[in-house]
């Protein structure tokens, strides 16, 4: 089929997928036990009237299907609802917390992709050697280390050896707070022309990015290596070699391009795993991102906020999957059939 048709169909497919996700999340929240109003009131004193008032404000006294329709209707208009704990629109909360997660995941990917793919490709070319074995073992062991424990160990080491690296947060309080235009600390520092703030942001990015980046790199190494080894074993590679092409050229022109496509596709699909890692990394390093917001809202049973976070996660992952599928289709026409 035509590329345009494929893209259109794929885009349309995203809508029911997101709807399903929203429904699943909504279902989980409302059907399972636990009273959100009690969670918000907590140990505070308060009259029974106030509790009922709150319940009514949240629309929790309406029948379930009405609540659902309300929610989906609002969502289509871009209204994520109101956070009762934070007393402001959920969309504002999401907007406040999204940049930190984006910053963390962006720099982590920037580290992970070259590191993972290059080491995997390198290992594949030296398949069978000691270097290959060490890279494989290294990646495997790193994969087995939970991302939160890795971050903790880094923190322990920094504390024990007194290294001048910040172990938490996105920026130091002493640095005059630059105007937060985008919410991305690095970008904001550049826009404000503040070199101290820029360096400060990078220092705070160091440990979290190493933690999350190496976690992602570990799985990329394995995938890259497997794919390259598979491709190198293909017939046409042998043919090219036999024809007299120098090894390097065979590799660069024939093997690598064919291997890279599935590798990059897989990378795109890893966004879900990356976000998962980001939740834990944010907790360890105290970054105010979506992950922390989710944990916070879960603790308070703030339905709208929880739903907002999860829907946003799902949107990001769907977007990544969409991009991956479309780029794959652009590159490889066979997929569109």
């Amino acid at each position: 089929m035509k590329l345009r048709t494929f893209i259109l169909l794929r885009l349309l497919l995203t809508i029911p997928m997101i709807l399903i996700l929203v429904t699943v999340v909504f279902g989980i929240m409302r059907v399972l036990p636990g009273d959100p109003v009690a969670a918000v009131m907590g140990s505070k004193q308060g009259s029974e009237q106030q509790i009922e008032l709150l319940r009514h404000e949240l629309g929790l006294d309406k029948p379930l299907y009405l609540q659902y329709l309300d929610y989906v209707g609002n969502l289509l208009r871009g209204d994520f609802g109101y956070s009762m704990v934070r007393q402001r629109p959920v969309a504002s909360e999401l907007a406040d917390h999204l940049p930190a997660t984006i910053e963390l995941t962006f720099w982590s990917m920037l580290l992970a992709i070259p590191l993972g793919i290059y080491s995997g490709v390198f290992a594949a070319r030296k398949a069978g050697s000691k270097i290959d074995a060490s890279i494989r073992i290294g990646a495997l062991v790193r994969w087995c280390i939970p991302v939160f424990w890795f971050g903790l160990i880094l923190q322990i080491l920094v504390v024990q050896y007194g290294l001048p690296l910040p172990v938490s947060g996105q920026a130091s309080p002493q640095i005059a707070t630059v105007a937060h235009v985008t919410g991305l600390y690095v970008v904001d520092a550049i826009l404000a022309g503040d070199a101290r703030a820029l360096v400060d942001s990078f220092l705070h990015l160091a440990l979290p990015v190493v933690t999350l980046g190496t976690t992602m790199a570990a799985s990329l190494t394995k995938i890259a290596r497997t794919n390259v080894v598979d491709v190198l074993g293909e017939e046409y590679i042998k043919v090219a070699s036999l024809k007299g092409c120098p090894d390097e050229q065979v590799f660069q022109k024939h093997a690598l391009p064919n291997a890279l496509i599935p590798i990059l596709t897989y990378t795109g699909l890893q966004v879900a795993i990356l976000l998962q890692g980001a939740i834990l990394t944010e907790t360890v390093f105290a970054w105010s991102g979506l992950g922390r917001l989710l944990i916070f809202s879960v603790g308070f049973r703030d339905f709208n906020l929880i739903q907002g976070c999860v829907v946003l996660f799902a949107l990001v992952v769907s977007l990544a999957n969409l991009i991956v599928d479309i780029s794959y289709a652009i590159v490889d026409p066979r997929v569109r059939l």
Binding site: D35, M41, S43, Q87, S168, Q174, F202, S288, F300
Partner: protein
């Protein structure tokens, strides 16, 4: 390919050079010329969960900053109890209470300005009280006894009460009762106002970045010129005590407010660069025993007493709180009131006595009970406390099943009185014994409902306690109340959660010990070393 490589190499060198220069600049840059007013960084783990509107909520994080941005009518001056007594702040003098106790006439201080320049007067006070009704705030109930407010003249207001309430003076010390600028509310609109509200206090809100920090600047035209702050306060929010402690040790912050974890105290106390002041905030940890849950062994008072005999507060203080929080040896702490030794009848810890009581109650082979707690909302040590209580009660053959639930379910069950035993924290709201007594002893009080307490004598005592303003009478009344509570054995105190306020010895001064949640930050000073 070779060309590409060269370009890549050049790009790499340039990038590295930029980074190296920046890092060098960062580390060797001479300190910026000090501004006129130094910034003091106060680190905390108390985040603002709602907004900064004093009428909206009374979660603790907000209380701290609102305490210095809004002046209440009466205040608790800094100092350790019992020297801390209520004193007039925006009020000019003590209230004149009508003989029937239903009308409080309060003269207001003159010449006071709001932080936006407008004048403070009786109209502003009336506006501030009236708006609470429309806000439907969580904290409005604190002033629930007030029916209406009248403007008598420009600087006099009259509070009309629904019933006599001697404790109202204490309630008036809370930020919810702190007047707000009516013109600011009208000018900014409610939502904006709630982000950066305007009061009369020594500090004013300058900036709030949610989840990150609040900036408070001195209000130069503050009516009490001896209390104009000498620092700009940067209230920096950390996610947990570990990062807070690290920040303190590395000098990222000048002083650490709540919440430093127990385990960190020994190293901080031993740190030569840090000093501290103690704040006895009146919080304590306790266990509540449901006295009227059908089918529960706790229906028998002897069983409840047996449980209390098993509790070793000293062991709890040592093991769970590492000696930092002292054991609490009194029936629930009544703020502003000397505790009577009613609790001593349960001392010392006596397992044999506990077993005796159980046998007398008909349970020689021990009993099975369930202990509820919520792991995070009320403090990190809850799971440890629960485990230790389980162990302590086990010594007398009481088999405890631990039930840990997230706070939604926990508070739902707790409020409905649908639990057997629960761990919690008592946090008094203001400096008056009634702020605790009513809730825990009067059958209409919310806590009493949670333990299904319904006692005629306690009901009488709580009502008498607020009907009279005579100190000697109140002392007798609340003493009797404590005795009766000890008889009934439903509230089991564990430890006092005192707060240690650590600060950098070399640069910070003016850190005062204080009593009861009132944060005298206007005394803070910072010198550049």
């Amino acid at each position: 390919m070779k060309m590409k490589r060269t370009y890549a190499a050049i790009a790499a060198i340039v990038i590295i050079a930029i980074i190296a220069i920046s890092v060098g600049y960062y580390y060797y840059n001479p300190k910026p010329t000090p501004k006129e007013i130094p910034t003091l960084v106060l680190g905390t783990t108390l985040d603002v969960t709602v907004n900064l509107d004093p009428g909206q909520d009374y979660m603790v994080g907000m209380l701290d900053t609102n305490n210095v941005v809004f002046d209440p009518l009466y205040e608790v001056p800094p100092g350790i109890y019992p020297d801390a007594r209520l004193a007039p702040r925006l009020a000019a003098s003590d209230p004149v209470v009508s003989p029937d106790g239903l009308h409080w006439t309060i003269a207001l201080r003159q010449g006071v300005k709001f932080q936006d320049g407008t004048a403070f007067n009786a109209t502003a006070v009336k506006f501030s009280f009236d708006r609470l009704k429309d806000l439907k705030s969580y904290s409005a109930w604190l002033l629930e006894s007030i029916d209406s407010v009248d403007v008598v003249d420009l600087y006099t207001v009259r509070l009309n009460l629904k019933y006599p309430n001697a404790a109202l003076k204490g309630a008036l010390t809370m930020p919810v009762a702190g007047p707000v600028s009516p013109s600011a509310v009208q000018r900014m609109g409610l939502e904006k106002f709630q982000q950066l509200p305007v009061g009369t206090g020594p500090f004013k809100y300058v900036e709030w970045k949610k989840g990150d920090h609040i900036t408070l600047a001195p209000f130069e035209d503050y009516w009490n010129q001896s209390r104009v702050p000498k620092v700009t306060l940067f209230y920096k929010i950390y996610s947990d005590s570990a990062t807070l402690k690290l920040a303190l040790e590395k000098g990222e912050i000048d002083t650490a407010w709540d919440y430093i974890a127990i385990s960190d105290y020994p190293t901080l106390l031993a740190d030569p660069n840090l000093k501290y002041a103690i704040a006895a905030e009146g919080y304590h940890t306790w266990m509540t025993l449901n006295m009227n849950l059908p089918g529960s062994p706790l229906l028998d008072a002897r069983v409840r007493q047996a449980i209390i005999f098993c509790i070793d507060q000293k062991e709890i203080s040592e093991k769970v709180y590492h000696g930092v929080y002292p054991p609490s040896e009194e029936t629930p702490f009544l703020p502003g009131f000397d505790p009577k030794p009613s609790w001593l009848r349960y001392k010392p810890t006596d397992i044999a006595k506990a077993k005796e009581l159980l046998t007398a109650a008909g349970d020689p082979n021990g009993i099975d009970v369930t202990l509820w707690f919520t792991p995070v909302a009320l403090g990190k040590e809850m799971p440890d406390l629960a485990a230790l209580v389980q162990e302590q009660l086990g010594r007398a053959g009481i088999r405890v099943t631990l039930k840990s639930t997230e706070q939604g379910t926990f508070f739902q069950q707790f409020r409905a009185g649908e639990y057997e035993m629960a761990l919690g924290i008592m946090s008094p709201d203001y400096l008056d014994p009634d702020s605790v007594a009513y809730f825990i002893a009067n059958s209409h009080g919310s806590y009493s409902k949670r333990v299904r307490l319904n006692d005629t004598l306690l009901d009488q005592l709580t009502l008498q306690g607020v009907a009279t303003t005579d100190p000697a009478q109140r002392e007798k009344i609340y003493g009797d109340l404590q005795d009766r509570l000890a008889d009934l054995a439903v509230y089991v105190p564990f430890v006092h959660q005192n707060n240690y306020w650590f600060y950098k010895a070399s640069t910070v001064s003016g850190v005062l010990s204080y009593y009861f949640q009132y944060s005298p930050w206007w005394t803070l000073e910072k010198k550049t070393p």
